[in-house]
């Protein structure tokens, strides 16, 4: 029996969701420290994108990047962060094949002209395209995580008319790819997924392979401005503290936990900043989510 002083009047459901990442990570750390668990190799592959998921990863806290690097995994490769360059770096990347590793990919796969619109290095004199790298590393990895919109489904890199024929990595891999949609991916979504993989293997996923612990409920269902929607009080310009549905908010179709998690040290999020959600964490972003902002508040009537 729990004693009464444990009873909280906060909703336990929301609370536990927010703590998911941190509690998983702490368990990984404890088990590694106690030698119950071995550190696994992590390869972070950048393809045709903006490297914004690397920056978002660096923006993470509890756990932060240092913790990932020193306590959770053996990080083998990151174009943005690794010391070595040139052929030494390429060796470091391809030498991991044959061992146990988890592959995280950001950026889309450019298919145009045999992938030559995205060259990620030169190995023993030969150009390595992003397409070749993800094929070779993706088929052999223990797990593959698509980090962000571009790796998950092409994202902005594949926006019409898709000049470089970009696709998500699932389109070139015959295997399960866990997809962390979002532009960028929140550091907690990646860290929490990684921690789950390290502890228990593959997390429960939705029908498009996104972890349910982050992606199951729409923004609209947990929006702090939901009462304005229900009362029909709609913003007509940015900067108003009411519902932005009529200005193009994509909260009703976007399944992600931004309203309760928030960003950058959990201080704010787009709707909290009086601007509409643009659906960056949903498949189809950006083309299916436009216009992002509209002042035509009578649309659809």
């Amino acid at each position: 029996m729990k004693s009464l002083d444990c009873v909280s009047f906060q909703c336990p459901y929301q609370e536990s969701r927010l703590k998911t990442t941190e509690s998983l990570i702490n368990r990984v750390k404890d088990e590694i420290a106690k030698d119950v668990r071995q550190k696994r190799n992590l390869v972070w592959l950048e393809l045709n994108g903006c490297s914004g998921n690397t920056i978002s990863l660096l923006d993470g806290q509890n756990p932060d990047f240092m913790y990932l690097l020193t306590q959770m995994t053996n990080m083998i490769y990151s174009n943005s962060l690794m010391n070595s360059g040139g052929n030494t770096a390429m060796n470091q990347l391809f030498d991991v094949i044959g061992s146990d590793y988890i592959l995280a990919v950001e950026g889309a796969v450019s298919l145009k002209d045999n992938g030559s619109y995205n060259v990620i290095g030169r190995h023993n004199g030969r150009e390595i395209t992003g397409y070749e790298a993800v094929k070779r590393l993706g088929e052999q990895a223990a797990h593959v995580i698509a980090v962000g919109a571009c790796a998950s489904h092409g994202g902005v890199s594949a926006a019409r008319p898709n000049p470089t024929q970009c696709v998500g990595i699932q389109d070139v891999l015959q295997r399960k790819v866990i997809k962390l949609t979002g532009c960028p991916c929140h550091p907690d979504w990646f860290m929490g997924t990684l921690a789950y993989l390290l502890l228990y293997g593959e997390p429960p996923l939705d029908n498009r392979d996104r972890p349910l612990m982050f992606y199951s409920i729409t923004i609209h269902d947990r929006c702090p401005r939901r009462s304005y929607f229900d009362s029909g009080i709609f913003a007509t310009k940015l900067g108003q503290e009411t519902c932005m549905y009529m200005m193009g908010c994509k909260g009703p179709v976007t399944q992600i936990d931004c309203p309760i998690r928030q960003w950058n040290g959990h201080v704010n999020w787009p709707v909290g900043n009086d601007s509409p959600c643009i659906g960056c964490a949903q498949f189809g972003f950006p083309d299916a989510m436009e216009p992002f902002i509209t002042y035509d508040t009578m649309r659809g009537e």
């Binding site: 190799n41 045709n48 903006c50 490297s51 914004g52 920056i55 978002s56 660096l58 923006d59 932060d64 990047f65 240092m66 690097l69 053996n74 083998i76 174009n79 943005s80 962060l81 690794m82 010391n83 070595s84 360059g85 040139g86 030494t88 770096a89 470091q92 002209d113 030559s116 619109y117 995205n118 060259v119 990620i120 290095g121 004199g125 994202g155 902005v156 890199s157 898709n162 000049p163 470089t164 532009c183 007509t236 940015l238 900067g239 108003q240 960003w263 950058n264 040290g265 201080v267 704010n268 999020w269 787009p270 909290g272 900043n273 601007s275 950006p286 436009e290 992002f292 902002i293 002042y295």
Partner: protein, 458 residues
């Protein structure tokens, strides 16, 4: 007989880059900087709503997304004939300043420091490919600590940005008129306290660290300079009441400083992978990079912190790889001071937003100096949609291909530099990283006219 070396990938930059260099008598005699990714943002933007450009163009670059929201908001304001309030400008510029701090902290500690400081090789990411580490163990150990400690401050620079901008990368704050949400007293004090800590770190750790590197690697003051032509579109300048807090639009060449004239910007693609119709063509015979060749008055210019520090008169020690890196750190300190001034002039609760209308036809340009230097967005609206969008990024200036017989700025900076060991050409990476290359930004161009100024801006 020259020995040819190739470095690909050049790591610890944003995006993908190769450097080819010819070495004779332990010295670089020829060099090519190659941008190796292309996405085609200008083409994607055609037909979209002009309002969406602010959020869409941020996706060009994850490390400097805020810069693109600045330039696109400025271009839209010109096209829509909107003049932002001074409060709107202060807030928008504060967001942008947070991005400067995030970038400078990360570029110095995560991208530059590993060139000079030996990080613990127990971690595979820190395995190294050269032996030119000169710091005594105690100093090296301190710098390793600072590498990790800095992560908190770059993260908190983004936390300040998100406080005013919703989230970052790819913020929801900057927009036509300033930012979306009025500032409140609790946000002001939150930013002020984070900024205080960042300022302390810069003064107590970052500045001593960069000068220590300069002391142990002094020859980097002697090379990596290049042409010495410097350009800025202006930065934190021309406020109604505050005047210019940093630098006005200026250029410097042959020892002369003169006012910047946007009509003198041109862009060529002689050696870039684009055909005569400006369509991407990876098989173009003499081309070697996705990066075009922006020029001012037909010559290549350097943009970025050293250009701004020099043009503002704040730092005039020299133009070299080490001076470039020192200027970046000095600029971080300057940005903290500018932010303090802007914060002190904020008025809480002032609304900046209106219901905007898109004209049927219009055009605009947004020129602003950002972390890596001069950034320009040019747009043309027709039928109330984006009909044309062009972007020239700082890294396109710094890492341009050659044209008209003149090497790009970064290429020229490499020429003449020593390479002591062709199997470990550490000098090349150190020089090129001093420009803080962002290839994700530099190589998305699709539709450039030969002359940017052919767009009529009323």
């Amino acid at each position: 007989m020259a020995e040819k070396i190739t470095i690909n990938p050049v790591t610890r930059i944003s995006g993908f880059m190769e450097i080819d260099a010819d070495i004779e008598d332990q010295s670089v005699v020829a060099a090519k900087t190659k941008g190796l990714m292309f996405r085609g943002f200008e083409k994607m933007l055609q037909g979209r709503s002009p309002f969406d450009a602010v959020y869409f163009t941020q996706r060009i670059c994850g490390i400097c997304s805020t810069a693109h929201s600045m330039a696109s908001a400025l271009a839209l304001e010109e096209a829509l004939n909107i003049v932002p309030s001074e409060q709107g400008r202060y807030l928008r510029d504060l967001l942008h300043a947070c991005e400067f701090l995030q970038n400078h902290l990360r570029h110095f500690y995560q991208f530059t420091l590993p060139d000079f400081v030996k990080l613990p090789e127990d971690y595979p990411l820190f395995k190294t490919d050269h032996n030119d580490y000169r710091l005594p163990k105690d100093i090296n150990d301190k710098m390793v600590n600072d590498y990790f400690e800095s992560l908190r401050f770059s993260r908190e620079a983004h936390q300040m940005l998100a406080t005013l901008g919703g989230k970052v990368p790819h913020n929801h704050g900057i927009f036509i008129g300033g930012i979306t949400s009025p500032v409140s007293a609790d946000k002001i004090i939150s930013i002020k306290s984070i900024l205080y800590n960042i300022g302390q770190f810069i003064v107590e750790k970052m500045l001593p660290d960069v000068y220590t590197i300069g002391t142990f690697y002094p020859e980097y003051y002697q090379f990596g300079g290049g042409y010495g032509n410097l350009l800025s579109y202006g930065s934190f300048n021309n406020y109604k009441n505050l005047g210019t807090l940093y630098v006005d639009p200026l250029v410097y060449s042959n020892g002369q400083t003169s006012p910047f004239d946007p009509a003198l910007i041109t862009q060529e693609d002689e050696y870039a992978w684009f055909n005569e119709n400006d369509e991407p063509d990876r098989n173009k015979a003499k081309a070697y990079s996705w990066i075009k060749a922006p020029r001012y008055n037909n010559i290549p210019y350097e943009v970025g912190p050293l250009a701004r520090q020099w043009l503002s008169g704040e730092y005039r020690n020299g133009i070299s790889a080490m001076d470039r890196t020192i200027a970046r750190v000095l600029e971080a300190k300057k940005i903290v001071e500018i932010m303090q001034t802007l914060i002190d002039n904020l008025v809480p609760g002032v609304s900046m937003q209106k219901e905007y209308e898109i004209p049927v036809q219009s055009s605009g340009k947004g020129l602003v100096d950002t972390t890596r230097g001069a950034l320009g967005h040019w747009l043309y609206i027709d039928n109330s949609e984006i009909a044309f969008y062009q972007i020239i990024t700082p890294s396109a200036w710094n890492l341009s291909t050659q044209t008209n017989g003149m090497k790009g700025t970064g290429e020229q900076a490499l020429i003449g530099s020593p390479v002591r060991d062709v199997t470990a050409p550490v000098e090349i990476g150190r020089i090129i990283r001093s420009f803080d290359p962002c290839v994700s930004c530099a190589t998305h161009v699709f539709l450039s006219g030969k002359h940017v100024n052919t767009i009529q801006v009323v």
